[in-house]
Structure formats: structure tokens, C-alpha cells
Symmetry: D2
Subunit: 243 residues, 4 copies
């Protein structure tokens, strides 16, 4: 059975900013999605903020195994009811791969329980080096012990997230800052990944290592074939014996 | 410097239910607070839901190092703005010790990012055995390798919380259920403890082991003398050199 | 590519004890292996203590992706050099699923860094109930929210292991004890699973839920197709630029 | 009650190397110990490899609450029986703060269960910046959101240790490498800290931030006043009722 992926993007920078539009003429979601469509075993759908229900109807959600999430300027425009809907779907077992400035999205903050804030800097030519801190992890399969992005936005610690269950990448930047760029957590029956790179004014989502990590993260975060039925509530003494 | 503790209680069962009122004539908060007042190095205040601002004004919060939190029927009556206020205070470095049915409180769910739901059963005579799963932890100082509560409500797994940073107690119940009864997490600069026992119709908050764990948990969750100043936001290249 | 599994067993109880021999006429390893052979995508080999090099030659190791390990009375008879060999293979990326009394094996203790000791009791008719504490985890795929083994040996907390990265099962026993029966850790590039049930005098390795968990654990612990090359040692300034 | 600290040092570089002897005329242990002696509530003892029993007799151990450990060239000269003795003491509840090249010591590797290996480079003028990744943690009390060491040896990822329970510091180096420089783990009833800085040819143990972190780490790793009695072994049905 293929993993059903919904690549979600705010999708507004690409319409407003000529630089971004030039790098991502069909949107960042399409750069990601077009890579994923060529990979085996994935069924790809895209959705953007300005779609009806942000492209995240109940029907889409019940047919999504893993979400990827990119947002930046318009986090507040995401409807709380739809955030709750995605939240429920993740707790029920879906995966979510939060990208770059998605760290301040409502859905990520709701899953983390913290501010998810950080330090940042935008420079034209700042180099990011991403170091693998958990070789052998599914998400870094095929990645060497580091990789370099010649130009990226800086994100620096303290990154206000709960202690990750696994930190698989740590970055350094030209200014001397560091950042936990690849992290995983479990929430309910679902898996959460944060992956840092992806500033809109750089061609990051055309980088083969970045695309590989996203693809791997999707495969890692995918639920089991059948979502678990999680039972809560009142139980009489001896209830187990009747099963 | 003493640790400044705010013992928070919903405080309604004690007014409505004769059994509860008999066990806790001054409220569960007073049973807990009166123990803590006799312990050294703690400065105790109590607050209940029906106080103005639930007893959790900005001024109270800025003078609170650790909260304890008991709620049950009226979680929804807690004002969202006050929940946000407590949440911010915890992320800034305060501790919070969530008790029993507080697992479904707005503040705990907001900190955890999950439903925090579970299985449960109320019986007149069900025994809970609490097993220490991290001897040497500050929170179980003075506790033997287990302790018994002759009558308690059952809480059973799956307990929908993020994987704890430390699980220090696991309970078994008469019906064969188990529960992670003592857990810790970090959120921002603050520490979160969940401690299970404390159903309102049993004299649990008069039990010396239970009181000891609560007292220990407060001491463990207390912040450093000075809260850290956490800096987020834009940083120019070379900003560190000017410090 | 199939996952190459080496099912390792001490294999002596089955020769010395008539009860055990009756339940497992071909050894516990064969009970496990015969289930795994019927599952898809696995390539199964067995090995026992009394084989040359305990059946764990360099060649076997370099063709093993995941080990399962059952030992009890003869932990001390396992050659330290072979323990070191398995240890290296796990750190390089292989998985290991340690079963029941394997908790005191040299390899498990070396991987954990602790005594791995516990409380125990052998009764003819003690019921174990295993509760799922991480629904959605690959290892409990297809398992309901609990399962029951009508007769098992009791293992009780404190179980002296490092805080697990994930606790997926917790057991309760007839005597009121509890135990973290399913746990995972990461060591180097490899994955470690502990799964409790399997006392030799009970038909535990004929139970479908137990076999399912073992099979799932193997799939979860399997390495990526290619083991990572992990580089340590001296690096000159600018070494990265030459890559 | 004061925390009883044993500051352990290999103590050979200081005798063989003029540069080291000039920076640390009484040994690195004395640089650390002299700071700790001025701090309140600590009782300080030092010990070096060439002392009888490496200065770690049974009597010293039973009067040590927290060890600090620096070693480098002579890890293999540390007697295995003494390593076992320290290991037991830590599992029983003592703390250990492993410093710099102590990452390859027998005791640290035994506690971790991994190779503890890493990348490294020695340059005359390489700057280390240490970033706080868990503000509010006891170990970084009084530390700003980063601090700088103008000259240090580089240590780079992958650092082969189990996923830390808490990562409180991450370093960046002039060459672009990163390293998890401050980490904690629990082993048995004891606490383990790794703190990176401290190459022998630089005056790192005269730096006030470094000394502060070491002092804080000792206070954090200190056991409860009374070590827990941890009970293992056979238990009859109903054993709890007789307590």
C-alpha cells in the first residue's frame, strides 16, 4: 500500500515575491511534490492555505498518512478548527514533517506545548553545515556524515521545543550559531519530525540531500497499515475477561 | 530562599459532596498545604477556581515558583487567558505538579500537546500499588521500593502523554490494569510532573507517602534562584562579539 | 531485500528439562524461527551456545541484520570476544531483540551499561497482562490495547535499565507487580529492543501475540539497506571542502 | 550535609609536558578543586592515576557522592576492578561528571554501552562557542545563552553516545563542526554528566564559565541524602503484605 502524503504549503510568498517565484515557479510544494512523485511507494497530493478549507477537508485528512507543513507569514490565518483536525489526525497515528518556518505554525506549537521560538538571521551568503547525529536512523539513510547548503537563513539555539526523542541533525552557521535541525517526537500514535532548511529565497527544496531527508522522514513517520483503535473511558472490573 | 508554592484546587467537590467534605473539610488544597507548611523551605499559598482570576493573578504568578494543580469536573470553567498565563510562567522556568484528574486540565493538555486521556474505574475497595521505577530520583527520596494505597480510583493505560523524560512510578490495580503514575517532562525552562493518586472520595492526600512525593516533586520542579533570560529573534552577524 | 535474522538461543534447558523439551521439542529458537520463516521478507538462521563460536562467526555476523537473544543459566559461558563482536555489529547498525531472561546476558548488560537486574517469581499459574503504552508503534502493529498470557514467570520493577527511548508495553502480574515489558533504545547506529515474556516452562513462544511482537520488533530494528559509514578521528581544518 | 566530591585526574600530562605544567602547575585536578573548595557546601578530595588504587579505594568510594573524571593518554592503565567499583558506586546513586577526553575512559564507555568516539582537531587558535540548549537547567544556572572559549581543541559529531536524557550545551567550532558538549543520562540510581571543554594545553579550567558548569553539574548529579536500597531477586506471592 502506498503512503498517502499531503504536501501542505502556505503558498503566498511565491505569489508576492519575484525572487521566490523564480526559484519556485509552481510553489515550494510543487518542488517537494515533484521529487516525491518520482520516488516509489508514495501517493502525493498538495494543498495550500488559500484552497477551500486550506485543502484540508475531512476527506483529505482521512486519506492522508503523512503531512509535510511549510508556513511563515500567515500562520495566524490558519483556521483553528482545521488545526484541531490535523492535530487529531496526528494523534490517531498520522505523521507530520514540519519544515523550516513551520516551527511557528499553530499545529507544531500545539503538538509541542512550547513557544517553538528561536534566533534567526537572513544573509545573502551564509553557509549551513548539517551534521548527522544519529547515523543509521531511517531519516538519514543515504546521507553522508554531513552535508552543506551554500546559502540558507540562520536559525540559532535556544530552540524552544521539548527534548527530542531523537536528534538526527545539528547545524552550524557562518556566524557561529548552532541548531538542532532534525528532531523527532511521538504524540499519541503519531510521529512528528522537524527539519530545518527551506528559506523561501534560496533553492533549498531543489537540493538532493534536503529532498532525500524529506522523503525519508515521510517514510519514517508513516503509520502502520491500520491505525490502532485507542480505547479510553470507564471500565468495569473484569472487563478484560469478556474479550 | 524559600520555594514559593501555589497549591491550586478546583475546590467544588468539597462543597457539593458530603463524603468529600468529610474527608477534606477545608478542601484538598488545605490537606496538601498544611503538610507543606510544616516542611522546611517552602512558602505556601492556596488558590481555588472560584477565587477572582481563579486566584492566579499576574502578581500571584510572578511570585510562584511551583504550582500544584487539581481539577476534575470544571476544567472547562478555567479561563483560557489564565491558562495561557500559567503556561507562559512554566515555560519561563516555573514548575508544575499536576495531580490525578488534573490530567484532563487545559494547562496539562496544553503543555503535553496530546489528549492526556486514559481508562478509569471507580470502586469502593480497589487497591493501588505504586512501584518505584527510578530509585535515586529526587522525587522518590525516602520512598521504599513500592507503597500501597488501600483504596483508590483506577487509571489504566494507554495514558496519552508524550514519552516521559523520566517515569518514576508505575501503578498496578486490583483489576490488573497498570498506569505510569509518576512522570516528568521539560517544557521551555520549566519542569512538569504528573502524579496520579488523589481521587476526591478517598483520603489519599492524608497519606504520608503521597504527601512526601508531592513535597519532593515541588522541590525537584523548583526553578533556579534566578529565572534565565531567554533571547529569541533577529541577530546580526557578529552580534556575539559585542557582548 | 530480505532482513537477515539470526535467532540465538542458549539451548540447554531444552536438553536437560523434560518439561521444556516437551513444549519446545526443537528448542525455543525453532519455535520462534518457524513462525518467522512463514512471515514474508525475512531470512532466518538459528544458532545456539554449543555451536562452534556459539554459531556467531564473523561470517554469520556480517550477514546478520537483526539478532534475537535468549539466554538464562549459561550467560557466563558466552565468550567475551563473541560478545564484543555482536556489540560491534549492533553499534554498526544491526538490531537486537533481547528476550526474557536475556536481560542478564553479557551483550544486553554491555549495551545498557547497568546491572539489568529485577525481581522475579516462578509460579505455576500466574497471569501476565501486557498493556500497550505506545499505540501506533511499529512493534505493536496488529496488537490490541492489551493481551494476556495465562501462565508466565513474574518479573517486577525496579528493572535496572537506562530510561527507555520508548516503552511500548507494561505488564501486571497476579501478585500486583508491574514491569516495563517492551522497551527500545538506540546504541550507535543500531537499535535495541527488550521484550519480556518467554519463561522456558511455559508455551509462550507458541502464543500468536508474542510471536507477532517478536516479528514486528525484528522489522522495526532492521537497519537501512546500507549500513552507514561512521567516521571518527583527526580532521584538518578545511577537511570538508575537499569532499 | 556537604556533597563529598572526588576530583579524579590522570595527572600525567602535567608531569611530562612543560606547556601543561605551566598552565596547571598543581595539575588540572587542583585547578578544578581549588575553585570547588571556595564554593559552599562541597567537601573536596583529589585523586590521580598514580596514587595507590588510583586514589579510589573502597573507603574513598563509600565517602564519595560525586566524581569528576579527566583522563586521556592512559585510559588503558586504569585497573578494570577499580572501574567496576566506580561503576557500582554510580549505579548505587553517586554522580559522575566526565570531562573532555574522559569520553574515551573505561568508566564512561562502560556506563554508555557505546564507543563514545568522535572527530577531533588540535589547533593553536580555534574558538569554541557553547550554546545553552536547555535554559533553566540546574547545570547552566548563571550561564548566559552562550559562552566562548577563545582557544580549545575541536570535537565534532558524530559523538557515539546514547541519545541523552537532556542536552544542555551544543558547541560550534571555527572549522564549522558541532558537538553536543553538555549531556546528561541516568544509570541505575546515579546521574551521569558529560561536559566537553578541557584540552590540557589551554587554560580552560581557569575559565569562570567552565568552572561554574562543573560546580553546577556536581550539585545536579549529587545523590539524595540517603542512597536508595534497591531490592532484586526472588519474591514469594504475597511478599508485599508482610511489609
Amino acid at each position: 500500500m502506498p503512503i498517502r502524503v499531503t504536501v501542505w504549503n502556505e503558498g503566498r510568498h511565491e505569489k508576492k515575491n519575484a525572487t521566490v517565484a523564480e526559484i519556485y515557479p509552481n510553489g515550494m510544494h510543487e518542488a517537494i511534490a515533484s521529487h516525491l512523485r518520482k520516488a516509489g511507494g508514495l501517493e502525493i497530493r498538495t494543498a495550500v492555505l488559500d484552497d477551500a478549507e486550506h485543502g484540508l477537508s475531512e476527506e483529505v485528512l482521512s486519506n492522508t498518512d503523512v503531512f509535510t507543513w511549510w508556513g511563515h507569514l500567515a500562520h495566524k490565518d490558519v483556521d483553528d478548527r482545521i488545526v484541531d483536525r490535523v492535530h487529531e489526525r496526528v494523534l490517531a497515528g498520522a505523521g507530520i514533517v514540519v519544515l523550516h518556518s513551520g516551527h511557528m505554525s499553530k499545529i507544531f506549537r500545539k503538538l509541542m506545548g512550547t513557544t517553538c521560538n528561536l534566533k534567526w538571521r537572513e544573509e545573502k551568503n551564509e553557509r549551513e553545515i548539517l551534521w548527522v547525529t544519529r547515523p543509521g536512523h531511517r531519516i538519514v539513510a543515504g546521507i553522508d556524515d554531513f552535508f552543506i547548503l551554500p546559502r540558507e537563513e540562520m536559525y540559532g539555539e535556544f530552540f524552544d521545543v521539548p527534548e527530542p526523542q531523537c536528534t538526527f541533525l545539528i547545524s552550524s552557521f557562518g556566524g557561529g550559531e548552532v541548531f538542532r535541525s532534525g528532531c523527532t517526537w511521538t504524540r499519541g500514535a503519531g510521529k512528528v519530525v522537524y527539519f530545518r532548511p527551506g528559506h523561501e529565497t534560496f533553492p533549498t527544496y531543489h537540493d538532493k540531500n534536503v529532498l532525500r531527508v524529506i522523503e525519508n522522514a515521510i517514510r519514517w513517520a508513516a503509520p502502520n497499515e491500520k491505525l490502532p483503535s485507542i480505547a479510553f473511558g470507564n471500565r468495569k472490573l473484569g472487563w478484560m475477561d469478556s474479550k
